[in-house]
Symmetry: C2
Subunit: 478 residues, 2 copies
């Protein structure tokens, strides 16, 4: 472990690169960079740097490399696994990308946008919209998360089913390496088979191999037809059958298939202003089905109607509605997006961001539910998520009247039980949030030693001095 | 460089692993493994091993690692850059994957298929079809190429536009590492953010980091609507405008957009039995437009008709037909697939597999045409390809009556001119065929030293003994 402070002379040398204004050392100024949204981790830092150019970042890393200073890249600070938070008690320097927020180029014919890493996701979406294109990456924190962080964590979100996650939406990268050298991989090519896939190595590496400073992103046509259906279902098995039907009937026009439990609908209607259950009677499960088409609005509408008719006919859905206006479509998505916030007023919530093979979702859910309620009688399981991606946010609200802290203290115990079942089904303990600090040791424990060893070899090959976001993803050697 | 022979005792030890029957040393028996389809490279080998299991491959690599024996994995031997051919004058052992050809599992609900690396691509397509699904990877050599080779070279083909290349169609891999250790990354997950992306590192590495032995592949619903349109165009610029229109109107239903020049239509109608020009009068350029839909045949047909009507209305197409039967659709695709074979009877052909940003295709083509005809007056440029992917097979047939060998002797000179223009537009010198031996030194020359250095560091980290397909992609150190 490095020292917990940095020599004032070294701080001054870093500050010289960015200018004093952008080198923060005051407690109040650095505070927002040290805590993540869930409050699970709190880090320490002697210095937050806010460089304004790729050249400044290169100079910072060159100096850090020479001096052995640990660097923690940070985007919008919306990550859930503390990958962006400096270690507690170390002297990690935070490198904020926020000032690197220029859209460099938009090419609607080539369907690409080139952006600085610090661009806020919503701003990229807007830039695409301005040329009548869609940048499909979409997630709850899109108003503040940054594309560099999205790429470093291979963000998922609500549009993965049709468009893929951040990895699939990126054609090229610019990365500053730990040595301060710049890799210009800003290619705008859909096909390029010229050597090892460095791009995909940096994507999802959570800033441990280098600092992403720019990216070429894929655009797609803006759909002209958009329909959202909402169905009440008997069981998760029926949800899977409905998903299968929807995927076969709609193909890539199926742009969302979200699963929600009854308890989630109750939580949202109870706690989120304006949310109401659009169906007359309660159902055990619900599916939100999103359909988008490029050719005409009629195609989407025909698809949605035919699909829901077939679902009713096959007795897969007990009841269903199709939104008839943009406002109704928004309201349905708002309900889905409120699943997690609506758990807050219900007390403590132990969360899991897991995935299993799509066809194993019903078996996984049944087994996990039984195991969790066996160890915590009265636990209220609010498992929802991106069914088509096999990605379930398996969240558990505390029993009514239980002590919140005592419940939350069982976080790791419950995680172990749920993740054990996830692994039995060949699943992932982090479907879209990454590893960071939160799941680092668990990853090392569950993976074959050869896999961790290969990751370590890559880490050493790219960052022999171990300065890039140490202690994230992999345990730090130093 | 290693010795050119292998000690008989070592050959015997390798043969013990596979059994004598599957250890080939006779000249006639090893001959088919030493030459690639274009005849540009001819290698030598003391031994071809045909293992029947992952365990045998692991044992072979363990022994090779101990003894420093170079191993060249080979699938269907259809590659165009000699990545699968042993070096000339070395003692590389060829490791044929052909006997590893079992479909391990098909899960239509989970939309995955798990296959041995030696499965022939067409057999995987058939296994998908048997459960009413589509495995979209499709290329000219699909009847003999193997999925392990497709993944190792990140194969492209004709369905990349909508479905992506081999990389996008793979969820998980099993890889035998140079040490003989097996990495089991056979995950069936659409979302899994748990550490560095090892999968995408092995994909496209051309067997230089390990031997892919199995893969989890993505399936999609089989489209129910399928239309193929064929349009005669004035210019490449009009082709780009038509592509833009088609992509905006059809989105992901646009499953192909292929560009062909007049001379290509002439070559195919002249040399390929049964091919005829479906349009009344000649046009400078042609587009083949493929549309597939999942919901109904009517959607595809409506889309194709509306698109071609709009194209005529906007004067982007001079003339157009839409195939009215499966036979007509096949005939149009057959014409496109005959572009390359039809060049053979016209004499020598200097080929390029390049890509540029889609919006730069017209400018690239104009500049390349001028440069090529300036150095070879009378050169007949037959540039065709996957316009929507920015991927042009920029092929040049010899001038009429010229000496074939004298023309082919200028291969590298012409490559240098064309690739220079490709690079000016930020393009790739190998869009879908890879690097192998053919483009290895050129890659090192055109890329920034830091990029080659990062690739070398990965190579050393994974294969410190340098036994995996040495001299491919990167120059061998030994």
């Amino acid at each position: 472990m490095s020292a917990t402070t940095l020599a004032p002379a070294l701080i001054a040398r870093f500050a010289e690169i960015t200018g004093e204004t952008y080198a923060l050392t005051e407690t109040a100024a650095v505070a927002p960079y040290l805590v993540e949204s869930r409050g699970l981790y709190r880090g320490t830092t002697p210095l937050v740097l806010r460089p304004g150019s790729v050249a400044e970042i290169a100079a910072i890393l060159k100096l850090a490399s020479e001096m052995g200073t640990a660097i923690v890249p940070q985007g919008g600070n919306t990550g859930h696994v503390a990958g962006q938070i400096p270690r507690e008690g170390a002297a990690d320097v935070v490198l904020s990308l926020s000032r690197l927020n220029r859209i460099r180029d938009v090419d609607p014919i080539g369907n690409v946008i080139v952006a600085d890493a610090g661009c806020v996701l919503a701003d990229i979406q807007k830039a695409a919209e301005a040329v009548d294109r869609l940048f499909p990456l979409s997630l709850g924190s899109e108003g503040s998360c940054q594309i560099g962080g999205n790429l470093s964590s291979n963000a998922g979100g609500t549009a993965v089913l049709a468009y893929g996650n951040a990895r699939q939406l990126c054609l090229g990268l610019e990365v500053v390496l730990p040595t301060g050298e710049v890799w210009d991989g800003l290619r705008r090519l859909k096909k390029d088979n010229t050597g090892y896939d460095l791009r995909d190595l940096f994507i999802g590496a959570e800033g441990t191999l280098g600092v992403i400073t720019g990216a070429v992103l894929k655009l797609v046509p803006r759909p002209v037809g958009h329909e959202v259906a909402f169905a009440g279902l008997r069981s998760v098995a029926d949800a899977l059958a409905l998903y299968d039907l929807a995927f076969r009937r709609c193909g890539t026009a199926l742009t969302g298939f979200e699963l929600m439990p009854r308890i989630g609908i109750e939580f949202t209607t109870r706690h989120i202003p304006g949310v109401r259950d659009p169906l007359q009677t309660p159902h055990a499960w619900y599916a939100l089905i999103d359909i988008s088409t490029s050719d005409s609005a009629e195609t989407a509408s025909r698809m949605a109607e035919a699909l829901m008719a077939e679902a009713m006919e096959q007795d897969l859905a007990e009841d269903a509605v199709i939104a008839t206006s943009g406002a109704q479509r928004k309201a349905l998505w708002h309900m889905r997006e409120s699943m997690s916030p609506a758990q807050k007023p219900e007390g403590g919530s132990i969360k899991h961001d897991v995935s299993v093979p799509v066809s194993s979702i019903p078996a996984f859910m049944a087994e996990a539910d039984a195991a969790v309620t066996a160890i915590i009688p009265g636990a209220r399981i609010c498992a929802f998520g991106h069914m088509g991606d096999g990605n379930i946010h398996y969240n558990i609200s505390q029993p009514v009247g239980a002590d919140k802290q005592a419940f939350l203290d069982r976080w790791h115990e419950v995680n172990a039980v749920v993740h054990g079942i996830v692994l039995k089904y060949g699943g992932s303990i982090s479907a879209e949030h990454g590893i960071g600090q939160l799941k680092r040791d668990e990853l090392a424990a569950i993976r074959a030693p050869i896999e961790i060893d290969l990751m370590r070899r890559i880490k050493h090959a790219f960052d022999p001095a171990g300065i890039m976001n140490p202690g994230k993803v992999l345990r730090s050697d130093t």
